[in-house]
Amino acid sequence: MKEIIKITISLTAICVAAALILGAVFAKTEDVRKKNQEKIKEETIQGLLGFGHGKKAPEDLKIFPVQRYVVSEPKATLLGYLVPLKDKGYALVTVDLAGKPLKAIPLKADAAKIADAGTRDAAVKEALPKDAKATYADTVYVANLGDKRLGYVVPGVTQGFKTFVNLMVSLNPDFTVTGIEITKSEEDPGLGDEIKRDYFKNQFKGKTLEILKTLKVVKEPLPTDYLVALDPSKSKATQDQIGQISEKHLKDDIYALTGATISSRAVTNGVKETVRKFVYRFGILADVMKQENVQAAF
């Protein structure tokens, strides 16, 4: 009996000691982990906007996240956009499904509160009527250089060959695609996985809204001169030459990856859908903010 007690005590002691150590390590590392995750996201966004890879982002580059919520009230469903304001505050701009503005609700929150998903959801819920339910949908990023609009970065998702492909599209103020990035995918190595390669991603560069509308995927082989422009790191072509070639192929459809037509089509459709939805929504949001006289930070 005495032995059993002894064993129990020592096992308990081991467990408690382990839990304490783990708790301490957790407390130390959790913040770093969150910060690093933020940093990765920021790097992706900056990279899409043309900074990174040796080109440092300028001081006055400002990136504003705009979160979208789907708000279901007992009678109607609406959309709520969480917009940063000029005077450091935040507002929840609600819009009905047809695009009519409803109201802008000021939010009691600061940047740190907004950055964390849990506290942000709570803040949004607080601002809304009691019987309303808000579900987070997505975040788009508006980038300014000083006071000038630099562009937008929009996340999207599409059904790939096996699993979802998460991507991000960057647009300039005219809604022309300036780049895409695949943030998460599990396509087959050597086939669908090539969607992560520059020579595929860069095909989307420069496609305007007009071109995107009718963009298709073709199974023709990629023209060799185009390849030079798409993968500049592997050739010695000058910036001018690359520009010329890109210009020439600007209106081309997307050339499918060899043996991976499905993945190529998935990404193309994903980009088209992402841009279409964003342009539609952002137009409405801009109108609403003008009408309601919301002074957004961007």
């Binding site: 382990a18 839990a19 783990l22 708790g23 390590v25 957790f26 789907v70 469903t77 959309l79 819009v95 499904l97 047809a98 695009g99 579900t135 949908a137 997505d138 059904q159 060959f161 096996k162 979802f164 087959d188 939805k277 539609y280 929504r281």
Partner: protein, 317 residues
């Protein structure tokens, strides 16, 4: 032989439970179903007017997170009893997301009954079956996820032991997956103690195996004699820890966790059985001396993995 019969019975009970549970799990009221990738079927429960139903403007369809962006309905077809309608779309739908169909002012025999909403997503049964198949064959834990190799190579020399191990393993796997799920959901996540995951899961598995060992020893000495040997080995199998970890990672629900565990266990048993039957044949072969034993077992496993590539990308629904 007794083990096999026991396992068969257990398998039948499982299947039966699944069949009984499936309609319960699947939402029945106010739901629609995908027919093909461009069609949604909804059922009103009462005959509706054809003139109302044929008007595509009466339906608005959208993906749940995008209520402001409608999917254009191309045409609507009513069945002969005018109870179910099939909405046809120009563009293919995303079958893995949830759609909402709003039918405005449903009109039946000239009377307007008000609007109704239908939620359309892949059926729970289909999801579970897909998960089972994926864990068993498409992403077989041994051949494509490389887990449980130590036991796989260690115990697959004789077919009989391989089958015994496979069955014991599957049973323990399913039960420990469920227990771990409950612990994770109701204790760890509720108390924000996620970081204790590893220590708790390994502890759960160890305690559980010990408990099965003790109970079996008392209750059914015959079965214990057959399976007891493997019980000790199970604790050091990576699959048994990988399944709860993956369940937690992917936020699976109770049923999903159970099915995932079942699939992993059966997949492991299949792999063991195949490997054992091949190894029995190999023992008689003139394998080069430097390859005898583990090296050739690895090469054979590689060839199995090559054959199992045939299942890649398989989706029944």
């Amino acid at each position: 032989m007794n083990i096999c019969r026991f396992a068969m019975k257990a398998a039948w009970v499982f299947l039966l439970l699944l069949v009984i549970a499936s309609p319960v799990i699947a939402e029945t009221a106010g739901s629609g179903a995908f027919k093909k990738d461009k069609e949604i079927e909804i059922s009103f429960g009462i005959p509706v007017d054809e003139s109302w139903a044929k008007n595509t403007n009466n339906f608005s369809v959208f993906e749940k997170p995008d209520p402001d962006i409608k999917v254009a309905v191309e045409s609507v077809e009513l069945d002969s009893r005018r109870v179910t309608a099939v909405l046809k779309f120009k563009e293919s739908l995303n079958l893995s997301s949830e759609y909402v169909v709003e039918a405005k002012d449903v009109s039946s025999e000239g009377k307007v009954l008000g609007s109704r909403e239908f939620f359309v997503k892949k059926g729970q049964f289909q999801i579970l079956f897909g998960l089972l198949l994926a864990a068993m064959l498409i992403e077989n834990f041994v051949f494509t996820k490389y887990l449980g190799l130590c036991i796989f190579f260690g115990v697959s020399q004789k077919k009989e032991t391989a089958v015994g191990m496979g069955i014991t393993f599957t049973l323990v796997m399913v039960l420990s997956a469920i227990i771990s799920w409950a612990l994770y959901t109701y204790v760890l996540r509720a108390l924000h103690l996620d970081f204790l995951k590893i220590i708790v899961f390994i502890g759960t598995v160890a305690i559980f195996v010990q408990a099965v060992d003790t109970i079996l020893r008392k209750v059914n000495p015959y079965l214990f004699k057959k399976l007891g040997v493997y019980l000790v080995l199970i604790t050091t199998n990576c699959i048994i820890l990988a399944v709860p970890l993956l369940n937690a990672d992917r936020n699976y629900g109770a049923f999903e966790s159970l099915i995932f565990g079942l699939g992993a266990g059966v997949g492991f048993a299949i792999a063991m059985f195949l490997m054992a039957s091949v190894r029995e044949k190999l023992e008689l072969a003139r394998v080069p001396a430097t390859f005898k034993g583990l090296p050739i077992a690895f090469v054979v496993t590689g060839l199995f993995a090559l054959a199992f590539l045939g299942f890649s990308g398989l989706s029944i629904f």
